[in-house]
Symmetry: C2
Subunit: 331 residues, 2 copies
């Protein structure tokens, strides 16, 4: 294992130190317990939006802390849920008096720890609504969770919920927007290589040089099946067909198309895959009106990508377009 780090046990701490030092205008890193908070805190009277989960998926979630997206993010160890104490501290810190929305990816550990954290925060008088993201169409259950996994679609949910909070929606309103986003977003991914968790020191699975894994999760957990390594067109077709079938598009929808890199794939390949994916979407009569291409929800240095489609309506489009200023997403 060659990685740009020192003690694997300190990898998350070291990265957070760098994040804090590089972005003092955007965020603050708190310790004991660890969470990342928007600089200056949640604007008074606005709903706070909080997410979190295992590290190793950067920039998700810490890179999305700032104005117009997350008010706080809670990083666990690599591929390990944050503790309930961490999450509770972030929920309390993010309360600007109008309550807090917790965006939770559907993994068993995250779900349990967020549930406990919400109870702890509510004891302290913080109103919390939770929304569960489960956009991965690849498998119904996986080694990390019962039910569908939450993957790259989480970015969409966090963006529109953050924008709803920024414009002053109530807690019920922000939660409604987030749940609508969850209902309308689906994702499927492919891995070309495995990744290596620093404190494990060896690849998380074996993938032959001539095969790819369709339907991979963001921790390297198995997907639907392995196929001989094909090309961007074949892979994009498989992924988009699965996503659109699950969404039940019939043609005429307006969508966001998001091609996400798993961490080790060059941006040029992501744009090429986006071109192929878009052709498949359009061939099914669906109109791509918004786009995002880049490595935003990753699995360490894994090579691969996921495609996410979100069916927009006027309000979700407006919320997607609303200003955002974070370390990883800004417009």
């Amino acid at each position: 294992m060659k990685k740009l780090l020192d003690d694997p046990a300190e990898a998350v701490t070291d990265a957070l130190q760098g994040l804090a030092a590089a972005h003092p205008d955007l965020l603050t890193v708190h310790h004991d317990p660890t969470y990342v908070q928007r600089k200056g805190g949640t604007p008074p009277g606005h709903v706070g939006v909080v997410s979190g989960g295992g590290s190793g998926h950067e920039p998700l979630h810490t890179g999305f802390v700032g104005s117009g997206m997350l008010d706080a993010a809670v990083p666990g160890a690599v591929f390990t849920s944050p503790t309930a104490d961490q999450v509770a501290a972030a929920l309390k810190a993010a309360d600007g008096g109008a309550g807090v929305l917790a965006v939770v990816k559907n993994y068993t550990g995250d779900v349990l720890n967020f549930e406990t954290a919400v109870e702890l925060a509510e004891i302290d008088g913080v109103r919390v609504e939770s929304v569960l993201v489960n956009d991965d169409v690849a498998v119904e259950d996986s080694m990390y969770t019962a039910g569908r996994r939450g993957v790259a679609g989480t970015l969409f949910v966090e963006k529109v919920a953050g924008a709803a909070a920024a414009r002053g929606d109530s807690l019920a309103g922000v939660a409604e927007v987030a749940r609508r986003a969850v209902a309308r977003v689906r994702t499927m991914g492919v891995a070309l290589t495995a990744c290596t968790v620093p404190h494990v020191g060896r690849p998380s699975f074996d993938l032959p040089d001539d095969e790819v894994e369709i339907g991979i999760g963001i921790h390297g957990e198995p997907g639907r099946h392995r196929i001989p390594a094909s090309g961007a067109r074949d892979i994009a077709t498989r992924l988009i067909d699965a996503v659109l079938d699950d969404l039940g598009t019939t043609g005429g929808e307006q969508v966001l198309l998001f091609v996400n890199g798993m961490g080790g794939t060059p941006l040029s390949e992501l744009y090429g895959t986006y071109a192929r994916a878009r052709e498949v979407v359009e061939a099914r009569g669906v109109e791509v009106v918004r786009s995002l291409v880049g490595s935003y929800v990753t699995s360490l240095e894994m090579q691969g990508a996921s495609v996410t489609v979100a069916v927009l309506d006027d309000e979700l489009t407006e919320l997607w377009d609303a200003p955002v200023r974070t370390a990883a997403l800004a417009w």
Copy 2:
């Protein structure tokens, strides 16, 4: 070789198709010859800023086309200079009546083809100033060029030159800013793995599992030496010491610290490396006042990073801070 692409010979074209489709608000891709132009063209009366070079370093340069940075970018084949015809077409297209600044990375092919292109554009009445970027302190000559290579510091030069053009500076003024930026920016990199050029199909060099290459170029060309794989602290110290020695900092300077990923390195490792690099910079009495962390000047899927230090003055800081809106850099 497993990559998310179809015909390797079409990889650049496919990526440009995706870039154009994903960012219709920012840019337009022209064909025959190929170049990428800012949407709507250079504002009349403003200097155009143009750069280009081999593909495989994305988002450099095409991802920096938009407002406040590049008016046009010219992508060659992977690791291959664009032709003089391509560059000349971009120079002519980017002339808004106030002339054009060409930002050229110091590689023999780029230098020759840009020189020819400038002559062609001048025949057509376009005034052009050129600035050569040669920020890599690792080696004096390399397999691709005589003199120092142009690497990640190019981003800094393009950003401040673009900002100078956006505020309405004359061609001489924009060129002066760019040359001052070149004089004040230095970079050195490290590779943990090689990369594979699509149409070659095998890694560009061999690097044992327990060694890293210090002073690597952005095409995988050799650097200063190989060392046993160490940690982020050791590597950051080696790179920063070489960069600051070359800059001749004596303490008290205010700098931009930019940690750049080579394409296959996770963002978390880049932030951890940034933290270590910053400690070394500060221990030498130099103050980090601006920061950038991410994979902006890459070598396909190579794992590794470079550190860039730019010594700021008030004007360069103001130009760095000025608004920018491109696919890869926005604030």
